[in-house]
Amino acid sequence: MSETRRVVVSSLTLSGAVGIFALSFGVASVSAGASVWQTCALSLFVFTGASQFSAMSVVGAGGSMVAAYGGAVLLAARNLVYGLALSSSAKSVAGNLPRRLFAAHFVIDETTALALGESSPKLRKIAFWTTGIGLFSFWNLGTLIGALAGSAIDPQKFGLDIAFPAAFIVMLMPHLRSKLGRQAAMLGGALCLISISFLPVGVPILLAASAVLVGVRNDQ
């Protein structure tokens, strides 16, 4: 198998898997009160999974829009780091400024991981764009199907209110591999549970973000 083909196959395989993820976002988002259009707009224009899930989870629980926005933006902040990591090869990946501005929309976990996994500039470019475009297509198709299916059934009856936490658990697992990750998760969870009863809905999620400060004292 040629190198190019190997990169394209792994990008598309990942994109397909992420499409399944999008199905559950579509279902969960309409169950939380968004319309099919709003759900699709989130996937088209926000296009960063964890933030979309987080925003609709807070909205579904009756939180304010500011709280929903705040948590989602905090989760999107890691894309800034991905952009930085990719920027050394930004010229070879995306070319001139207008192309780079377009490419920015596709700077997410998966495109960064696959692009930086390649060593040659040519393969990086292929990995970034096939993952970016492939994943964008599957993510939005999955969202649409999920949203249509979700608005046709009673989510409570099918236990679909558990779709959010179930997806969050899957997203959380890789972060528990490091000691710092486990500490941040435990502290964040504890801060949230303690404050739920007296802070406005959604705000405990913002408070949980302060748990990242466990990263300050650890120097390695």
């Binding site: 009160g33 409570q156 949980a208």
Partner: protein, 106 residues
């Protein structure tokens, strides 16, 4: 959990879309290959761990501002075990939803 869509949900979606794009663009196009301080880098990397864990607990153990213990706990337990055993997401969601739905049906 079916609510009427809040009127300002569109506003939130637009604000979030703009912010998410600016964050992605800022790193890739504006900052260039400048290095962030190590501490900053590490703390940003820990955001998902802290927030996802908080979101899991909120969505499992609360309704609005009250802590509750209901059929969702069964789904939560099933999801933890399934995710721990590296089951694919769709399997985790279906198993968790089935456990919660089953408990509600009994």
């Amino acid at each position: 959990m079916i609510n009427e869509a809040p009127a300002n949900l569109w506003l939130m979606i637009i604000a979030l879309a703009v912010s998410a794009y600016l964050l992605k663009m800022f790193g890739l196009v504006v900052l260039g290959s400048r290095q962030l301080p190590k501490v900053f880098d590490r703390c940003l990397g820990l955001i998902p761990a802290a927030l996802l864990s908080a979101l899991v607990l909120k969505d499992t153990f609360s309704v609005g501002q009250s802590l509750v213990f209901d059929a969702r706990v069964a789904g939560f337990a099933v999801a933890v075990v399934a995710a721990w055993r590296r089951a694919p997401l769709i399997v985790v969601v279906v198993l968790a939803a089935s456990a919660t739905a089953l408990l509600r049906a009994i």
